[in-house]
């Protein structure tokens, strides 16, 4: 058996080569690793590299961590394209950085994997209905940009059950969609209920229809999506009622890594700019008019054009001054994004937190100057 080390060495080499052959199958877009390596070695912590923008530019594509299973927010359409509210924000960032909303790769992530994926640099930005909480913001090494959607956990029941308040479900079986805080919120609100925790909405829906549970709890946006598509054979959307009570606050928005302020600023202000565009009445359709003759100084600053012959406002973000033109041309303003993605799943915007501050909602943009 003296020489079988030779065989072992050869075998190992073959195995490594084979793995490398597969791993490098599409190496042509992996050029970004050169500088990633150079800067990364200097300091052991992930928190101090201000290099995401450089990485993204070198790679020529944005990598966005998203959901692929939530109607209206992040899903894959029949042609294999990602679509949804969160997806549009990814495209907006790509438009801001490259002027082209198509230069973005979407990586679908599970709830458990998403934070690690961002922490370890697998993605540049995470836009996957992630709730802004203190502990996540402080101890996970991540930063939350402005909230793009205010959600909250709710309860859905059958209309003919006659249930009108969450308290009536105190000791009932409740179907829960497994999430990060969903089970905890339920246990806090209804400690004596029997939680039946499903991993996907489809199986849960069958269980609910068949009468396994009296209530169905999840984020209200998800409940609304399921409700609007409830099968006609079971009575259609009218067979279901989403109770008015919201028993958790779920502000959702994009995340970046801690310590990369230039990149965080870009993500944050692209999202804010989209909201501001709605405030200013700029849509993808009338964009050209506003560029030609901005109505006020802030509009001119937002679009990166001169106001009545004055200097062009420089955001200092390190990307083109007229980046918001590309963003609005690509995805439109907040209202358009909402209209396109969220309205079809049956969630009315008026009167909710997701209306502009001027309309009584919570969407408010600091001055763009």
């Amino acid at each position: 058996m003296k020489k079988n080390w030779l065989l072992i060495a050869v075998g190992l080499l073959v195995a490594v080569l084979a793995i490398a052959a597969v791993a490098c199958g599409d190496d042509d877009d992996g050029n970004g690793n050169g500088d990633g390596n150079g800067n990364g070695n200097g300091n052991g912590t992930t928190g101090t590299h201000e290099q995401t923008l450089a990485d993204v530019l070198a790679r020529g594509r944005l990598v966005c961590g998203v959901n692929n299973g939530v109607p209206g927010f992040g899903f894959v359409d029949a042609d294999g394209n990602f679509s949804g509210f969160d997806i549009d924000f990814c495209r907006a960032i790509a438009a801001a950085v490259f002027g082209d909303p198509t230069l973005v790769d979407f990586i679908p992530l599970t709830a458990q994997a998403r934070l690690t994926a961002l922490q370890t640099g697998q993605i540049d930005v995470l836009i996957r209905n992630t709730t802004w909480t203190l502990s996540r913001d402080v101890s996970s090494g991540l930063s939350f940009a402005t909230t793009t959607y205010y959600d909250g956990q709710g309860m859905m029941v059958l209309a003919d059950s006659g249930i009108t308040s969450v308290d009536e479900l105190a000791d009932s079986p409740i179907c829960v969609l497994q999430g990060t805080t969903t089970e905890q919120n339920l246990a806090t609100r209804l400690p004596d209920s029997e939680p039946v925790g499903f991993e996907d909405n489809e199986t849960l829906q069958v269980a609910f229809i068949e009468g396994r549970c009296d209530g169905w709890t999840s984020d209200k946006s998800q409940l609304a999506g399921r409700r609007s598509a409830f099968p006609e054979s079971e009575g259609g959307p009218d067979a279901l009622v989403i109770l008015t009570e919201t028993f958790s606050k779920e502000p959702l928005g994009p995340l970046t890594r801690d310590g990369d302020n230039p990149w965080f600023d870009i993500v944050n202000w692209v999202a804010l700019g989209i909201i501001l565009a709605e405030e200013k009445g700029i849509t993808s359709e009338n964009l050209a008019d506003h560029v030609a003759s901005p109505g006020d100084v802030e509009t001119a600053s937002l679009l990166g054009v001169s106001f009545e012959g004055g200097d062009i406002f420089d955001s200092g973000l390190g990307i083109d001054t007229d980046f918001m033109q590309a963003v609005i041309a690509a995805v439109g303003n907040y209202g358009e994004i909402y209209e396109r993605n969220v309205t079809p799943i049956g969630i009315v915007r008026e009167g909710t937190e997701n209306a502009l501050a001027a309309d009584g909602g919570l969407l408010f943009v600091p001055p763009w100057k």
């Binding site: 003296k2 690690t116 905890q184 039946v196 925790g197």
Partner: protein
């Protein structure tokens, strides 16, 4: 590498000779191998601990290279924090609420896994043996259906089958409002499937003691009758006599001890099943899925083993006038068992490991509880390692038990 001639002849004396010494070569190779493993492990562990430190996460039970002596973290402290989530069902009478810790929740998950695995192994064995024998049945239809069952359920991923059993079969049972009660014997609904279960009284200890006495007496009677049968050659029905002895003592002592066992019958009260032993639909779906899937593999093992017993054995038994059942019971299966046990052990292990797919049917097993905890705390490393260690322990225990059974069944030499 032409220096080595492969004959293993030692040439001591010079330095070169020392290097050529096969024992030295062997030793050095192993040192190098161990060093390589340790270096790779060290690099990965260093990276991991540093990175976990950056993320404020714990590293159990990994070597904490940058930590203090003894460099091993044996107490993942988050396990003592309040879990804050509910679990719909517990096993073996354990109690749990959202106020318990993550550690408690983990134990609940473990017990749930053990329950489904133990019952699943028992039922899969029965199903596998029945189908395996049926595949060789003289009834054409039965053997064809057995084959159809094996081919269909063996070739579809278990995950899909589990969802099928839950959504198409178990959840289609009657709703709780219209659940039949079968006169108090059982309740079948898609919220709970319940059957009567024993309740215990005061004299239970006394009665159990008397049962042991009854068993001893029955064994004595069996031995006596069997010996008498051997001696005289006329049938003495030792098994029947033993059974009768046992029954008489057991029933008599039951009333002497004050009837300490009662039947608790399940009943519907206010859309809830009260009393009896009740199973959740998730448990039933997982159980059916595991049993049906594993049953196909056990059936193939049983069939293969029976076929491996030479045809002459069966024919000789037939010539002796044994019936089909007798041939199986006394001639074929005892021999087949010896071939069956090792692959059967593998199937038991597979069933236990496959129970981790409970997540597809919302049954709170160990993996699902760990997955919820992981979602909430982000403590991936300690949780995944803990789950792996737990499954590893269960696998080793199963192998150990089956190893003992196997040794018992082998032909004494």
């Amino acid at each position: 590498m032409a220096v080595h001639d492969g004959t293993g002849v030692k040439r001591a004396g010079t330095m070169l000779g020392l290097w050529r010494d096969v024992r030295v070569q062997r030793f050095l190779f192993q040192v190098l191998f161990a060093a390589a493993v340790i270096v790779v492990g060290y690099i990965l562990a260093t990276n991991l601990t540093r990175e976990l430190g950056n993320l404020n996460l714990e590293a159990f039970p990994f070597v904490n290279v940058s930590g203090s002596f003894p460099f091993i973290n044996l107490t993942p402290s988050f396990l003592e924090q309040r879990a804050g989530f509910g679990i719909q069902e517990t096993s073996f009478g354990t109690e749990y609420s959202a106020n318990n810790s993550y550690g408690d929740a983990y134990v609940i998950g473990l017990l749930n896994t053990v329950r489904v695995a133990v019952i699943g192994i028992a039922l899969a064995t029965v199903l596998g043996f029945v189908v395996g024998v049926s595949r060789l049945s003289a009834n054409w239809l039965v053997s064809q259906v057995a084959m159809l069952y094996v081919e269909v359920f063996r070739n579809i991923p278990l995950a899909i089958q589990l969802i099928f059993w839950l959504t198409v079969v178990v959840l289609r049972l009657p709703r709780i409002e219209n659940a039949p009660e079968f006169g108090g014997f059982a309740v079948v609904s898609n919220r709970a499937i319940a059957m009567p279960w024993a309740t215990t009284g005061d004299g239970l200890g006394v009665w159990l003691l008397l049962l042991v006495v009854a068993a001893v007496a029955a064994v004595g009677v069996y031995r006596y009758r069997a010996r008498s049968e051997e001696r005289t050659g006329s049938p003495r029905h030792p098994a029947w006599w033993a059974l009768a002895t046992f029954s008489v003592i057991a029933v008599g002592s039951f009333y002497i001890a004050g009837a300490p066992l009662g039947f608790d019958r399940p009943a519907l009260e206010n859309r809830r099943v009260m009393g009896g032993l009740s199973f959740s639909p998730e448990f039933i779906a997982l159980l059916i899925g595991l049993v049906v899937y594993t049953g196909t593999f056990i059936a193939e093992i049983v069939r293969g083993s029976i076929l491996a017993i030479s045809k002459g054995q069966s024919e000789a038994a037939a010539a002796l006038g044994l019936s089909t059942v007798q041939r199986l019971r006394f001639v074929i299966l005892p021999q087949a068992m010896r071939i069956i046990i090792p692959p059967l052990t593998n199937q038991y292990l597979n069933l236990t490991k496959n129970s981790s797919l409970a997540i597809f049917v919302a049954y709170p097993d160990i993996f699902k509880v760990a997955s919820i905890s992981l979602n909430q705390t982000g403590q991936a490393v300690p949780l995944i390692i803990l789950v792996m260690l737990t499954y590893l322990t269960m696998s080793l225990l199963t192998s150990l038990v089956m190893g003992i059974v196997n040794r018992r069944l082998q032909v004494p030499t």
